[in-house]
């Protein structure tokens, strides 16, 4: 059974059809990349999956449950986590505090006014795990707002990981990064996928990253699904080439 099953979702804003009847299945443990030229509807598609807004038509099934109309918090509780194109962090807090908020929320402590020693220890373990997994241990006590772009992204991913998500949604994880940082973030994603077996869906512009990481690629264009397949299949697909390079003479 697939982890994520999207059935003919459509999103209309007024007269504009941003996403037009797209379907997609992502298997457990898969790393799926979504690509497409600007204005293809990638982010709208992503926002419907994560619950930012509901589709106009169609259904989204997450791990056997229909989540089409559920609010963000409910999807998060079911194990969906995401990052954003522009890094969304708590800039005035340290890396550790950023992660702590995620851990406490994941452990269901978010409305507690008091926690015991055992829970405190569990929280600290969760924080350390996320720090190690993302290689942020050395920067743990620095303010996130002061870190480099790549490290901020890593911190955002670390915070998302605290939720122990069964599905990790990454919106352009390498956007606006230099060569070096892109490499580091791509490596981090690879580790999460290969070593920790996370199911990941990501939107990405950097084709080297996409073709290196993805198990399968979905290509969107003008709100429609253009193609789907392994990196090799996509690379050879004339429709994709046309969408990206324009119609051949």
């Amino acid at each position: 059974m697939s982890m994520l099953d999207i059935r003919n979702v459509t999103k209309q804003f007024g007269s504009l059809v941003a996403v037009n009847s797209v379907s997609m299945q992502v298997a457990a443990g898969e790393l799926r990349a979504i690509i497409g030229p600007n204005g293809a509807g990638k982010t709208t598609f992503f926002n419907m999956i994560s619950g930012f807004f509901s589709p106009t038509a169609g259904d989204i099934v997450f791990d056997g449950t229909t989540v089409t109309k559920l609010a963000v918090a409910e999807r998060v509780a079911m194990g969906m986590a995401r990052t954003f194109q522009i890094t969304e962090i708590f800039p005035e807090l340290t890396v550790r505090e950023n992660i702590r908020i995620g851990v406490e929320s994941a452990l269901g402590l978010r409305q507690r006014f008091w926690i015991g020693a055992a829970q405190k220890a569990a929280v600290n373990r969760g924080i350390d795990e996320a720090l190690i997994l993302t290689g942020l241990t050395v920067n743990a006590d620095r303010l996130v707002g002061e870190l480099s772009h790549g490290d901020q992204r890593a911190a955002e991913i670390a915070t998302a990981l605290t939720l122990k998500p069964r599905l990790l949604l990454l919106d352009e994880p390498t956007a606006g990064m230099g060569e070096h940082e892109t490499y580091a973030v791509a490596n981090l994603i690879r580790r999460l996928h290969k070593n920790s077996a996370y199911t990941i869906v990501l939107i990405e512009h950097d084709m080297r990253v996409v073709f290196n990481l993805a198990d399968k690629i979905t290509v969107l264009g003008e709100g429609k699904m253009l193609a789907e397949g392994t990196p090799d299949e996509i690379a050879a697909n004339p429709i994709v080439q046309e969408a990206y390079l324009g119609k051949a003479e």
Partner: protein
């Protein structure tokens, strides 16, 4: 609330040396009856600082630590005062019960209002809170038979504290009453500090720092803003109850939005990102106002000028600047 504010200040939740700051503040507060008269002050002034300081600190749970701006907090302050006064007048002459009465009245109404407005943000939140505050003002002002209307609620006074083994006379001894205020203040601010250090408190800071990220960590934002609003109202109402005990009187001006504005300026003046900032702001504001209003009838211009100068030149507030200074 958003990352886009250019006044983004890189200060942690608590000052670098929280215990030192706290120790200095309490040492100063404990010795007020000794040093204040020497500087030409008087104990009642310190009482007012404590009460308004508590109100501002309670308000700051919202502004400074949740990133939500209420501009109608005087309403809950005033309701707290009426709650205390009505309890003393109609239920029982007990000072602790009066405080409970004040907190319940301000807290419950604040909580109900909060439920209606938790999904609003920014200036719109502010605007709706002002309007709501004016409803409360209007009702106390008009409900003559219960509240005494325009003339205020009279005919009650704080009762001596009966501790079982002894009775403390806080009715006629202003020094005892000051220490009583200080005790309540310490307990309330202690609770606030614990709250902010708790997981719940951290979710509030998370909402302030980045609402979208907090939402995608599974924090139910509206619910937490509502809870924060309710808690803030309860503490503000407690301050209001103390104000009623201080004056042995409650009047509708205690709910008016001009007092809301003063609470906000105290908070900003002292530093809204610092735990003790609002207290320092309240002290500065109360003393300045007391001094200026004795010197000139045009004190309103000076108070207005304080607002303008703080906003234009000292937006971090006093403690904010000090913290920035020590970090360098």
């Amino acid at each position: 609330m958003s990352t886009a504010t250019t006044t983004a200040v890189t200060t942690p939740v608590m000052p670098a040396r929280p215990w030192l700051t706290t120790a200095i503040i309490f040492a100063a507060l404990l010795t007020v009856p000794v040093w204040l008269p020497m500087l030409g002050g008087y104990t009642a002034l310190a009482g007012r600082v404590l009460v308004l300081g508590l109100a501002a600190m309670s308000f700051n749970l919202l502004l400074g630590f949740t990133g939500v701006m209420s501009f109608g907090h005087a309403a809950y302050f005033g309701l707290g005062a009426y709650g205390a006064g009505l309890t003393l007048k109609y239920i029982a002459p007990s000072t602790p019960l009066a405080m409970v009465g004040g907190v319940l009245l301000g807290g419950i109404l604040g909580s109900l209002f909060g439920r209606l407005i938790a999904q609003r943000r920014g200036v719109y939140f502010a605007m709706v809170t002002v309007a709501f505050g004016q409803i409360a003002f209007y009702v106390t002002y008009s409900w003559d038979s219960l509240t005494g209307g325009y003339d205020g609620l009279r005919g009650f006074s704080r009762a001596p504290l009966n501790l079982g083994f002894t009775t403390i006379d806080i009715t006629n001894n202003s020094t005892y009453f000051y220490y009583f205020l200080l005790f309540v203040f310490a307990v309330a601010t202690g609770l606030q500090a614990l709250l902010l250090a708790s997981p719940f408190g951290r979710t509030l800071v998370a909402i302030r720092e980045n609402e979208r990220r907090a939402r995608f960590l599974g924090i139910p934002i509206e619910r937490h803003i509502w809870m924060s609003f309710s808690i803030s109202c309860c503490f503000t109402a407690l301050a209001g109850a103390l104000y009623a005990l201080l004056n042995n009187f409650a009047d509708p001006m205690g709910l008016h939005y001009s007092l809301s504005g003063e609470i906000v300026i105290m908070t900003v003046m002292g530093g809204m990102r610092a735990f003790w900032g609002p207290l320092i702001g309240a002290a500065l504001f109360v003393v300045l106002q007391d001094y200026i209003s004795s010197m000139t009838v045009n004190w309103m211009s000076f108070v207005g000028l304080i607002f303008v100068l703080v906003v234009l030149f000292f937006p971090r507030g006093l403690l904010g600047m000090l913290q920035k200074g020590t970090e360098k």
